[in-house]
C-alpha cells in the first residue's frame, strides 16, 4: 500500500510539475536550459562557499547565529544541486522518457531529488530568517522547521504555493537585511540585501510565468544577478588583503 501511495502521489503532483517544465522546454531554444542549469550551478558554488564560511565561524565562535547561517546556505546549496540534477535530467531527455514510460524505479529518485529541492529551499529561508531575527530559543525554531517541512510536503502538489511561501519568507529576510544596511551603511550589506531581493523576485515572478513564459527567462536572469551580487560580497571577503 505504502509504495503505491507514493507512486500515486508522484503521479498527482510531480508529474504535473515535471510536465509543466517539459512544456516550458518547448518554448525556448535548448541551449537556454543549459544556461539555466549553469546559473543553478553557480548557486551551488556560491551557497556552499558561504556556508563554509559560516561553518568556520561556528567552529571558532560557537554562536547559534553562525550555526543557522551555515545551515541556511548549506540547504540552499543542496537545493540548487538538486535543481541542477533535475534540469540536466530533463534536458538530456531522461525525465521525459521515464515520465512517458512511467518507469517507476527512475521516478522514485526523481521524486526524492525534487523533495530535496522544495523542502531544502524553504528550510534554508527559515534558517536565514532565524539568523536575522536573532532567534535565541532553538526549541521554538525547530517547531518552525517542522511546520515548514509539513508545508513543504504539501507544496509538492502546487508549484505556485511553494514559490509564494518562499517569497513570504524571503520578504522578511529582505526587510531584516535592509534594516542591517541602514544600521551600518556598509556596501556589502547593501549587496546582500539586493541579492535576497533578487531571490524574492525570482520566486514572486513565477506567478507571471504561468501566463507569460518570457518570465521564465526574466526570473532566471534576476536570480543570476542575485548570485553575482553574493559572489561579489564573497570575493571581497576571500580577497581581503593580509595586513
Amino acid at each position: 500500500m505504502g509504495i503505491n501511495f507514493i507512486y500515486s502521489w508522484i503521479e498527482l503532483s510531480s508529474m504535473a510539475d515535471i510536465n509543466f517544465t517539459l512544456l516550458l522546454a518547448k518554448q525556448f531554444p535548448n541551449w537556454f536550459y543549459w544556461v539555466v542549469a549553469g546559473i543553478q550551478l553557480l548557486g551551488v558554488v556560491v551557497s556552499f562557499a558561504i556556508s563554509y564560511l559560516g561553518f568556520k565561524a561556528y567552529r571558532i565562535i560557537k554562536e547559534a547565529k553562525y550555526k543557522y547561517f551555515f545551515y541556511g546556505f548549506l540547504l540552499l546549496g543542496l537545493s540548487f544541486l538538486a535543481n541542477v540534477i533535475l534540469n540536466v535530467s530533463i534536458r538530456l531527455g531522461y525525465a521525459k522518457y521515464f515520465v512517458e514510460k512511467k518507469y517507476e524505479l527512475f521516478m522514485l529518485p526523481m521524486f526524492g531529488i525534487y523533495y530535496v529541492f522544495l523542502i531544502g529551499v524553504m528550510l534554508a529561508y527559515v534558517s536565514l530568517a532565524a539568523v536575522y531575527s536573532e532567534v535565541k530559543k532553538s526549541n521554538k525554531l525547530w517547531l518552525f522547521y517542522f511546520w515548514t517541512f509539513i508545508v513543504g510536503v504539501y507544496t509538492f502538489r502546487d508549484k505556485l504555493m511553494f514559490n509564494m511561501f518562499s517569497a513570504i519568507l524571503l520578504s522578511f529576510i529582505v526587510m531584516y537585511t535592509y534594516d542591517k544596511y541602514l544600521e551600518g551603511k556598509n556596501k556589502n550589506r547593501l549587496l546582500t540585501c539586493l541579492a535576497f531581493f533578487c531571490m524574492f523576485l525570482f520566486h514572486l515572478f513565477v506567478l507571471l510565468e504561468t501566463f507569460m513564459p518570457i518570465f521564465f527567462i526574466i526570473r532566471n536572469s534576476i536570480l543570476l544577478i542575485g548570485l553575482i551580487l553574493l559572489l561579489t560580497t564573497l570575493s571581497k571577503i576571500y580577497g581581503r588583503k593580509k595586513k
Binding site: G54, K56, A57, I60, K65, E183, N188, R189, I237, R240
Partner: protein, 90 residues
C-alpha cells in the same frame, strides 16, 4: 558605553597585539594593550599556550610571548569571520 568584548574578541585582540609587535612581546605590553586585569590576562595566556596559539620563551631572565603559525592563522580566520559578519549583517 562600549560593548563588552566576547572571549573570542579578547583572544583576537591579544593575538593581534602580538602580531603587530612582530610576533614577539613582553607580558607587560599585552597587559597595557589588552586592557585586561593581571589575573584575567594570565588565564587567557595560559589558554593560548595550551591551544598552541602562542609560545612562552625565556631569554636573559625576561619572558616573551611568541605568536605561532596557528596563532597567525587564527588572526586571518577571525578577520574573515568579522568581514563576513559585517557583510551579511549577522
Amino acid at each position: 558605553m562600549a560593548e563588552r568584548r566576547s572571549k573570542h574578541e579578547i583572544i583576537f585582540d591579544i593575538l593581534n597585539l602580538i602580531s603587530s609587535k612582530s610576533g614577539r612581546v613582553k607580558p607587560t605590553h599585552i597587559l597595557y594593550g589588552g586592557n585586561l586585569s593581571h589575573d584575567r590576562l594570565k588565564k587567557y595566556l595560559d589558554e593560548l599556550i595550551t591551544g598552541g596559539f602562542i609560545q612562552k620563551q625565556e631569554e636573559k631572565g625576561k619572558i616573551y610571548y611568541i605568536l605561532t603559525d596557528k596563532g597567525y592563522k587564527f588572526i586571518e580566520e577571525f578577520k574573515k569571520i568579522e568581514e563576513m559578519t559585517q557583510a551579511f549583517g549577522i
